[in-house]
Symmetry: C2
Subunit: 207 residues, 2 copies
């Protein structure tokens, strides 16, 4: 990794998380032993499994929100029901609200960090949910996989999820590294990377 310039953001897409003391060790491994700036983290085990990553100054925690794979439908898109009790004019009122599991994750986790140390993974294949997702967390950056091999559209996510500060960090892996399996693989990968860069540049426009 010494050949990667220090100015480049280095993300470990490791999807870690464990009980607190173990998460602390993972965070040390990625942020101190290895020179990563960011690491992806899985939310299932809750706050104490995520917080240790957020405690490293100048580093980014990128929490899974709504992922790009088919299995996102299995749990992330399940409906959560939340019961709240309120006293209204002397009467106890019980309200039921429903939201997707991934929305609950975004909203709760937004309080664990800030837009300066916490991003969310939002798959480019989940275009129908982009507007809703931006409402849940208007200021956080999204790391967006799923463009290219998985079929997500750079145009669509740019239109629906960009903020005034850009707000999206789009990852294209397989479409670039496997652009060719012949001897011209290096040139083909470079060409494909430049193509995505130029397309993104267009969407960024005057921002």
């Amino acid at each position: 990794m010494d050949s990667i310039p220090a100015s480049h953001l280095k993300i470990a897409d490791a999807k870690r998380a464990d009980i607190g003391n173990t998460s602390t060790q993972y965070a040390k491994a990625f942020f101190q032993t290895l020179p990563f700036d960011a690491v992806t983290v899985a939310p299932y085990m809750g706050e104490d499994s995520v917080r240790p990553f957020l405690e490293f100054a100048g580093k980014w925690t990128i929490l899974l929100g709504l992922t790009s794979n088919p299995g996102a439908a299995d749990f992330e898109l399940k409906k959560i029901i939340t019961e709240t009790e309120e006293l209204e004019e002397g009467v106890h009122v019980t309200r039921h609200e429903t939201s997707y599991l991934y929305e609950t994750v975004l909203k709760q986790a937004a309080d664990w960090g800030s837009p300066d140390n916490l991003m969310f993974v939002i798959g480019a294949t989940q275009a129908d949910e982009f507007a809703n997702i931006r409402k849940c967390v208007p200021e956080h950056f999204f790391l967006v996989p799923g463009v290219g091999a998985q079929g997500g559209s750079l145009k669509e996510i740019s239109e629906k999820a960009m903020t005034k500060d850009c707000g999206i960090l789009v990852n294209v892996s397989r479409a670039i590294i496997f652009a060719s399996d012949k001897e011209d693989y290096a040139g083909a990968a470079r060409k494909m990377a430049m193509q995505y860069q130029q397309e993104m540049s267009g969407f960024l426009g005057g921002k």
Copy 2:
């Protein structure tokens, strides 16, 4: 790891899971490159992130169910609402059922594997839920962390979660490896391990 006898079950408590092709590479790393018999897996990303682990013959996938840490309350213990539509005597009937996220995970994932290649992580600190958990998955083994340093009771989980084939694999880590921080650490760890082994042996009784 060459010093561990082949007869011992080797579990990588790695809590991995990623999109399918990446999960396949993780599974290869733990089951083929490294000599592990089992690996713990996180369920958030759903079926296609878990199945690659289940495809290795003679190996175990141990999926997070209800974990032992405080953060289990954040998402695992959230209520999921499921809507089912049925036609009853010519009339469409909509039913709403609620269950905890962890229950939904146990029930759905039970169909992805079998009691012969799939276990679940159930924390010993979650004693109130044991009876309910056994109802969801009556035959699967549970890997049970949380005894010792985290305060779970070996007696309670043995009474409530054992099956006729035992059905629980209890993990005690910190209470044994940190039994002493003085020069007698090896002897203290051995003594503590034997103590847990004898206690468990008593609960197993004639089984």
